[in-house]
């Protein structure tokens, strides 16, 4: 049962990742792309957590944790740039 659920989840998250990447390429505006990158981070987190469950490996969770943390900071920096240009002021 859990295997089936995992497979469905992986397929869906994979699909979401591909679509997000498409949006990232298409744009058209900078906020679209930033949002797509942030969503890509979130998709990746989901992907890693699912893989961690499938493979029974804790390291995947930690990578997910770090992506969650770092992705947020990256998004803040990009947004701040759009907002003010100067990101440390």
């Amino acid at each position: 049962m859990i295997e089936l659920a995992l497979n469905i989840a992986l397929t869906l998250v994979g699909l979401a990742t591909a679509l997000t990447f498409w949006r990232l390429l298409r744009g058209p505006s900078a906020p679209d792309r930033i949002l797509a990158l942030d969503t890509l981070y979130i998709n990746t987190i989901a992907l890693l957590v699912l893989l961690g469950i499938v493979l029974g490996n804790n390291i995947y969770f930690e990578a997910a944790l770090l992506i969650a943390l770092m992705g947020f900071v990256g998004t803040i920096a990009l947004c701040k740039y759009l907002l003010r240009g100067d990101i440390i002021e």
Binding site: L37, L40, L66
Partner: protein, 937 residues
Amino acid sequence: MNLMSIIITVFAGSLLTAWVSRFGRLQAAWVAGLITLAALAQLLPMVPSVFAGNTHIEHWAWFPSVGLDLSFRLDGLAMLFALLILGIGLLIVLYARYYLSARDCMGRFYSYLLMFMGAMLGIALSENVIQLLIFWELTSLTSFLLISYWQDREEARQGARMALAITGAGGLALLGGLIMLGQIAGSYELSVILNSGDQIRAHPLYVPMLVLVLLGAFTKSAQFPFHFWLPNAMAAPTPVSAYLHSATMVKAGVFLLARLFPALSGTPEWSYLVGGAGLMTLLVGAVFALFKHDLKGLLAYSTISHLGLITLLFAIGTPLAAVAGVFHIINHAIFKASLFMAAGIIDHEAGSRDMRKLNGLWKYMPHTAMLAMVASAAMAGVPLLNGFLSKEMFFAEAASAGSHLKLGWLLPAAVTIAGIFAVAYSVRFIHDVFYNGEPIDLPKTPHEPPRWMKLPVELLVALCLLVGILPQATVQPLLEIASAGVLQTTPPDFDLAIWHGVNIALIMSVVALVGGGLVYAMRLPLFRLHDEHLAPRLQAKAVFDHIMSALFRFASALTRALDTGSLQRMLVLFFAGALVLGVGGFLMGGGPLSGNRAMLPLDPLSLMAALILIFGTLAVVMSHRQRFTALILIGVVGLVVSLIFVKFSGPDLALTQLSVEVVTIVLLLLALYFLPQSHSAESPRWRRARDLVVALLAGTGAALLSWAVLSRPFTSISDYFLANSVPGGGGSNVVNVILVDFRGFDTLGEITVLALAALGIFAMLERIYLPGPDADAQGRPWNWDKHPAVMASFARLLLPLALMVSVFIFLRGHNLPGGGFIAGLVTAVALIMQYLANGEEWTQDRLPANTHPMLAMGLLIATLTGLGSWLFGYPFLTSSFGHFHLPFIGEFELATAMAFDLGVYLVVVGSVLLILIYLGLMHGASHRPASGKEDYR
């Protein structure tokens, strides 16, 4: 007592002297004198044992795998030189105390002098020839400092540069020669080299090796045609000249000839090369000395001539000639030191060194005049003085060597001519200065110098007389033991009597004395001849300057031709070159492209990741003119790369990649603010087409190579680390154990470089304020809200969580993925986040922007951890670990590597923060806050 401690005493004394000079001028002189005495006191107890025929060798393993050891040697020759260096050095210290004027910095002078003395002692006492070379180069460097002591004088700087260029180039040649010598003999130790003379002389590489070694010796001892640096080096203070010309520097060259005499001499090549240079130098020096009107110039050329004499003696190659060479080294050191000091006294008390002005000083300074005259007579070779004895031996050797050759009479004839000129310039030194009328407009009225300034000269002149009158009782034992050191066997019997009966040498001496007097009597027409015909044509300095400027022109033309400053050009050349070499190598190697390793199964997720990576990369390239878009796309590429690391069991790499990714984005955004947001194509179309082709080919090549490597079974050194990580380093995270333990020394070097880079960037960025744009790329003005509240609050909330993650990653780093480097990046990112969301002002109220102390602490902790292992008798940076048990927490492990890792952590945090914050603070010149409040720096 050991030999190394003598050298260390002198070098440490150099630092001490520089330090005490802040307590007063004369303290430096006292300390320098005491240091020299202390070194002598360590040497003297060993003297009786050397006289008994023993050779002391001390040995410390230093770098045994390449044959480099710290080893020292004390035999007769080494002892003679050590005594000369320290003995005359002591007199120089005393003399310079009175010579230097109140404007000169005593501490700097004596500190350089002691450094130089230590380097010379190192040459004399080295057993390992590579170690000898290191000291050799040190003498070049320290003599540069001494010659340029009066830095404000143009000629001092020029002379010092010339000396360094010539002796430094010679040192380079010598390095090559000594390495070849060591390879031929099978060891760099003198004990082996000196005993394998036959093997060395029979080797096919003997001649190139000999040429290189001789280049080193000849440049140092100012042999023709490298002699011209020595007269230019007399821009140095006179005590330095006295030291360089008598016991040190130029004597290092003849010391090397003497030292390697048993290994290299006895071949026709040796005789012709060494003899030719020696004879030319002897003649050129003697003739030109007569025409110098400057006292020190005369003495400098006379030194060149005497060095040629010594070199010629070693070239003759008989044991007796070698004895004569050693004897003349001693005698020349004694009389030349006293002559330079006398010249310095005259310069000091009369204000000029020009012999056309200096006349009749006998009336003003009879005591000094007497001393100078005796020393000068010794230089001329007058009987009952030391110079006579060795010169007579020299004449005898030259005559007997000439009798074996065709046209052999030329050698004694040339030598006699040199002797005539030697007498002539010595007579000039006496007559022109102390008699010959009255002084001509001297700046001061000459008078006797202070009592103690004369003492060194008196002692040396007394030695001239003692050796000259009672040679058997004074110098004979020293000469015997020093010659034994040169020859490495018992020296032949020689008789140091003053009267040998009428023989060829005596006749040559008499001819030289009489002829010298005659030449001096005819000096005025000779001077005219020289001024009109010789002087304008023979300008060694002009030739040297010409060669040097041609060299500089060539070097800068070459640099300009290779480096036009165009990145595109460099990259095209680089990739095209790599392509040619790679394809050529692969085609010639002829191996199949694919290996036989079984393929891993392909799953849809991996395929998708690969496609995202490929298209993401392509998109970066396509959008590279829209810089902000390209930056976002780079973020995708970095993300996928870290996913690949996760999949292929590189968790440490994945974590590092993720952290570095964010730091990179912040860094690029900071820079992007000051740069154009987009740019148009500037290169012509054909060049872009060419670059595209090169890029595609290079990319394909790299892909094929990766395929070739990945499709083959591959064994690497990683098995060793996997097997030894837990038993050797006490951690199961191999990456971390390698970083902090197996390769700890590399890591220490890397964090040092990182800290230096951060400080360098800080130094460049501090106080730079650049104007930035007022509006974004589309021309919209910036938002008024500097720090939106939502962003600020979330960032604050996230700080403790991020720090906890960082502590977690740090603590378990030794056994599981993590460690100081990643933890440092996470902490830095967490703190930078506060700058982004809350602003500089808010953050700096809570956390100082100055992270210099953090950098210093990190380096200190890492280094101290490394040093700590010395306390327990282990090599630097040996780590140890143990398991401990605490109630509640349970068993845990502590390794010293963790302290080291803490150092890494602090340096990483400090560097990243320092760089990013100061890059962010550059905006000062523009970008006024919307409120109009002047709250930026």
